[in-house]
Amino acid sequence: MAMLSFPNIAYLIPLLPLLGFLVNGLGRNRLSHGAIAWIGSGVMALAFVASVVVFWNLPAGAPTILTAFDFIRVGVLHIPFAFQLDALSSLFLLIITGIGFLIHVYSAAYMHEESAAHYGRYFAYLNLFVFSMLLLVMGSNYVILFIGWEGVGLCSYLLIGFWFRNPAYAQAANKAFVMNRVGDLAFLIAIFWLIARTGSVSFTDLPLALGTVGQSAKLSAMDITGITLLLFVGATGKSAQIPLYTWLPDAMAGPTPVSALIHAATMVTAGIYMIARSNLLYTAAPLVLTIVAVVGLATALLAATIALRQNDIKKVLAYSTVSQLGFMFLALGSGAYVAAVFHVMTHAFFKALLFLGSGSVIHAMGGEQDIRRMGGLKKSLPITYWTFLIGCLAIAGIFPLSGFFSKDAILLSAFLKSPVFYAIALMTALLTAFYMFRLFFLTFGGTFRGTEEQRHHLHESPLAMTLPLILLAVLSIVGGWVGIPEVMMHGGDRLVAFLSPVIPVAGGHEVSHATEYILMGLSSGLVLISIFFAWSRYKQYRSEESENAVARLLENKWYVDELYQSLLVQPLHRLGGWIRSFFEPKILDGMVQGIGRSVRYLSQQFRFLQSGQTGNYALWMVIGMVLILSIQFFIRK
């Protein structure tokens, strides 16, 4: 059983979901619902077990590299198809397979009404999604990471467009893929740049390229800035940051568990992972770090403001994800990579919880997603209610739930970077608390505002759906305890120590304990006030027809989609149309045809010589003879 021991067992982690994809994908017309669900979830459970084994057996220090085969090996360039097992990747493996497993279980019940073929297709895509994400975090170099990177893009495309009969959904799927591709292009160029300078794309060669191991650096400051900036552009696509964030809210077109998968376990965290993975490069590029922080902060604030006035339960959660991702980028930009990874983890718990909870609500409401037509669901959906509450408290950052610790770490890092950043981040945190509890009170508080038929239909979801909710709620509570700040508990911040082989602990400016307590107290107090405001405003539903301009602006998401539409999409479309219907046929092909036409015109002119009249021919003959004779006559003379 050498295969099942460390490190070879790591091969199983991506292979199992791949196997699930193949079996469910090829056998979807023959397998029953039960078999499909068992296969789909079973491979995930096994992958989770394998991830746990890898996690526990992980040797300290240097990463373990598993090389499967050579992907590309030509002369200088060597890109192995290899996996890297270290603290960072094993942590992500746990998150992805663990939460992925719960979402699979949840989906088994949630999607049960689909026909077997579609059910099988759904689980196949889901497994493929997880496979791609695993490839992404396990890859030992940028190219394998990129393979997973594009793979999750593809799977999100397939899953967002899962209900492909609705044209709007198919459109949303296209949008997600294309926007991701814009980022991917930047990522690719960064890879080429890296290859050009260092001849290697492996993560383990990065220290060498930076010249930290007693060698001269292969990368100049300019190279590092360029590469990191391009990588960041790639990350903005995948992790939905300004300017490429607009696909994520539209991605709500997919089934709700898919949204949970995209927002919590896979896909959007890829950008954070990639930058945390490249932390050595980023630390060497302070300018880019500032850009990352600013973009993250701006995204966090922008998305939070939009979320204030959204009425679709999933849209609110989607914008909250964009906002939380902005927080993570703020942490990255502040150099607090561990804080970002920490927030990825806690966010995975509570965002999965919130999405699955919203799925439970939507399930109970018979597909209704508008929170204005919900309300008072507390009684009929008790488990969903309590778990959703925990999720909201966690995301708002209430002590001692997981969100508190990770958000606190981020706020602290922002404070260290600049008090202005801290102030904006804090305000965003307050907005977060406000819109999350607006959502919560509108959904569960007050009285029921749906139709009579919906009221009759209201029911708590089956065990397969509530069990994941309960587990995720527990995780949302305790998940933050691995990163308790040093001031509260000595040696409490185990995450920093655990990740230190990958992310070197930066020494330097510490804040005094008093400052740290003041910051914590400030944010906690303000968040509570913010929740109170939300309670007082939304405990009883009041129609909020937006009259003022700002509210309308927020409701329409700052018109960013419209802006892109008229600035980029429309001009491109019009240019393409102009080329297709005018330039190509009239000018380019016109020149080609023009040559043919001019030949025809000339021949038309000469045609009169060949009139077909014998008399004419004789005349020309005589004229010719006379000409020849007279020429001869005169030349002789």
């Binding site: 009139s611 077909g612 009249q613 014998t614 008399g615 004789a618 005349l619 005589v622």
Partner: protein, 109 residues
């Protein structure tokens, strides 16, 4: 008689024939004009043959005879041509009741 007279007569006959061929539309007249041109050439051949014969009689009694021979050839060919050509014209007249060459240009299409 100097050769010039024959030359001018022959040239005149040939030109009349040529102009006839070029300008007339009646196939029979064109035919006659062709004959006229042929005979102008015949006349020329005979005249030159006679001239050479008289000039070189002392050296070779047979000189210039080939010119006369050519005339016979041309007459035979012309006769054949007339018989075939006239036959065609007659056939055409029977079919379309016209010998106008402007009208008979269907082969062009």
């Amino acid at each position: 008689m100097p050769i010039n007279y024959y030359l001018f007569l022959s040239l005149a006959l040939f030109s009349i024939g040529m102009v006839g061929v070029l300008t007339r539309r009646n196939a029979i007249i064109i035919f006659m004009c062709i004959e006229l041109m042929l005979n102008a050439v015949n006349l020329l051949l005979v005249a030159f043959s006679k001239m050479h014969h008289l000039k070189n009689l002392a050296i070779d009694p047979m000189v210039g005879v080939d010119g006369q021979l050519f005339v016979f050839f041309i007459m035979v060919v012309a006769a054949a041509e007339v018989s075939v050509g006239l036959a065609i014209i007659v056939m055409m007249y029977r079919n379309v009741h016209s010998v106008d060459i402007q009208f008979l240009n269907r082969l062009k299409h």
